[in-house]
Symmetry: C2
Amino acid sequence: MKTISIDKSHGGTQGVYVSRSEACDCDMTFAVFVPPQAAEGNCPVLWYLSGLTCTHANVMDKGEYRRLAAQLGLIIVCPDTSPRGDHVPDESDNWQFGKGAGFYVDATEPPFSANYRMYSYITDELPRLLAAEFPVDMDRQAIFGHSMGGHGAITIALKNPDRFRSCSAFAPISHPSVSGWSKPAFRKYLGADENTWRAYDACSLIEDGHRLPELLVDQGTADSFLEDGLRPDELRQACEAADINLKLRMQEGYGHSYFFISTFMEDHLRWHAQRLRDRK
Amino acid sequence: MKTISIDKSHGGTQGVYVSRSEACDCDMTFAVFVPPQAAEGNCPVLWYLSGLTCTHANVMDKGEYRRLAAQLGLIIVCPDTSPRGDHVPDESDNWQFGKGAGFYVDATEPPFSANYRMYSYITDELPRLLAAEFPVDMDRQAIFGHSMGGHGAITIALKNPDRFRSCSAFAPISHPSVSGWSKPAFRKYLGADENTWRAYDACSLIEDGHRLPELLVDQGTADSFLEDGLRPDELRQACEAADINLKLRMQEGYGHSYFFISTFMEDHLRWHAQRLRDRK
């Protein structure tokens, strides 16, 4: 692991790091905020997964998480959204597929299966690196994200219920198997058999018996991706049918950008901090 | 004036606008945050001037001012740092001169004098536009900024003591007539006669009798521009000699970036809000 930059902020340190990823067969960059409480002992970890076109930097620059993470004693980890590098297959004119659009799946279809293994990177490889290199209490983890990263957070939490104490999302892609902007990507990463897509679709995972105790979702009503791309109503129906306690808050007049995310960041950090408070 | 974008954020609206500037003979972009209190009446205005290489967007994205501005009822105005456009003379390989480096002066030397008139734009043209188009109480104005924009804020406040109720800065360029990164720009904008530079130099203006009642300055001790570029000690000496109440806070371990600015943004907003509270 190599440090790209480290800056003092809100009493803690915001670092950017790069490490060789075996899962993705490339160098991967990620950001970690360490709060001042880490000087006295390992801190709980909150993972933030970003949306389409983003890198680690968007939420680091615009998410406004450091002030409260420093108060609450949370380590915030912000991974990239896809493999990177000249050797990584891509469709450079398509922002909904390839680089910046890994969708947190392990691709099975060549040529993408050689690098697009973001599920393994996020759930296995990066946690091991984090545990080795940072003052983290890996018994206290939570996860959240935005849009494609909201999809990532919910699906990863559903599939790893013993690892994450809490999960939340800003404007998540709730049913990617049927949305116009994610269906073509799923086909290219996972193949034509749509049954294999269910393992990476929040609504399908819930239908198939995966469970979370509760879920906080904020969704702007002025979000231009609301109807086709995000489908919060389908998430609501899936959660109702499965008795999952979904707190879905429709936020009047808010859009899809970080102007929206930063507004409700505090609520999400407090939600997670409350559930991460007690040591096991 | 044309609206480029408008987004709901923290209960208010963050807009980006463009208007034709007579002073700079080009289109100029700027950002305005309007807090929810504007629904009930005109709000006080806090100007933020940005540093070298920045546009209106850097502080809008990374400054973390909206949460508290929405609480305190402040309109935040974030202008660009120089004229823009293909017809504007520039040195594209020099980040300390030309585009992104207007230094808030009215240039007198051709060819720069045709466009680089940021002092007039900020103190005359943009205020008139603001008063006409936004719910502002122009009797309640304050100003702050970062680095080159800290220089801009302090010099503009010193020269317009009746207009601004308060002034503060993050890591301001305090003595640009003698700093390595500003001296060449002053020579090109203002000519070889260094006496003309004094009108745009905080330390010189104070020596020449300009006054502020008080001044808040935060400065990171790990700022790589501290010694030559910023020179807070010279500002301290000038303020002491002139009985200006300077609150200079050396912030241990902080650098020059928005990780530093966002950390202390809240203190500056509260400082200004307190002084802007009462209507005339």
